[in-house]
Symmetry: C2
Amino acid sequence: MKTKLNIAIVGTGNLAWHLANAIDSSEHNLLQVLSRDQKRAEEFTQNLSAKGISRIDDIDANVEIIILALTDTALKGKYIAQFPKNAIMCHTSGSISMRVLKSHKKHGIFYPLQTFSKQKEVDFSNIPICLEASDNEVLQKLHVLANSLSKSIYEINSKQRKALHVAAVFACNFTNLMYDISSDICNDANLNFDILRPLIKETAAKVQNHFPEDVQTGPAKRNDGRVIEYHKKFLYDYPDYQEIYDLLTYEIQQKHEEL
Amino acid sequence: MKTKLNIAIVGTGNLAWHLANAIDSSEHNLLQVLSRDQKRAEEFTQNLSAKGISRIDDIDANVEIIILALTDTALKGKYIAQFPKNAIMCHTSGSISMRVLKSHKKHGIFYPLQTFSKQKEVDFSNIPICLEASDNEVLQKLHVLANSLSKSIYEINSKQRKALHVAAVFACNFTNLMYDISSDICNDANLNFDILRPLIKETAAKVQNHFPEDVQTGPAKRNDGRVIEYHKKFLYDYPDYQEIYDLLTYEIQQKHEEL
């Protein structure tokens, strides 16, 4: 199998941005980036070797893999069916089934599990890329591409991807809500959020080498009723946070009671 | 003011361990570590210049600051009143009032905000130390000690400390529960928790330079009803997690609706 692949990316969002830059820096060729808006496509590709295009018809005949880096709602079968049939069609979504790509005989999932913001650079080599494919030949090609971008490649099926997406909501989106609530409480008490930043960093650092269950701390884990009551009293002015405090405290107690 | 202070630590838990090592490596003198159990005190001080003791009466007359690194429940006024009255009495708790130290004219709070485990080394210089004191002279002495251990010193009052402790439960203990739930879901789907570790790290890294509110992502933030329904269906077998998913999703929607 030749190792230099010709790639096109569809989309100009945060994931498309990081993926385009990573592929452009790899041994593979990012030939084109497609956006509905020609100007946006050209701006996006300004510092890339890829060409910005806005029509599906303009997709280069040499493109072997088309990566749809689009929001879930944009991944419609009818839209996808318009793309050149000889290319391998991929999407990058955590929750959309592989079946949406069935208009193409060769298709697969190329799902990088990370939270992307355009303003924050990420080291793509540390991002886990989850692969699934219509057949073994496609899977091997996706491996070749993924291997040149990242050290962590996982083959996971659609059912596992669904579980992983839910898990990621807890590990990332809900975690960020916890940070947000803590920031809110600090703000009201005229405390600089800087005080909490090292704690947040260390909490994440701990589970890099341990399992979360083994490093749980706090009043709920210790079953310290006095402190819990004290906190609930404090949260009297924050009914939403009090409800969350109750539910999560109960959950920690349940989890660590059973042990 | 002379800068070399004589310190004693009471307690042999995780915080006592990290604090004792940090003070021992500073320009100050850690004279003694007190535990109810003489053997434990001696084991604890084996590689420290401090002496392990088990009786309050044995506290050196030169000790200027006694730091009670004890659990909240151990911080009783009657117990504290037995310590030499000429020393500055401090405790390290996030939730216990400074009044518990009132048997001593000179007293204060020395509260390092971090999650400590004996098995994991921490760089004390990055740990915020929150100070409060009975008077300005004590405050200055605590500053001298804190400054030699950490770059981040904050003067906060008891009311702020209470808020900070609740905030820390969200930022650390509840955050770790989110990790634990995600690990549980992965485990059931036969997925290696390693896939999520970079996401967890990046989520914490993002709020080191941004406010959590500004970097919130996910289906709740995007108000993506289809994905939310999909996830809730997935969580049907996990009623506890489904309830948490509902409540936290609602909270994110509320927060970002108002903006």
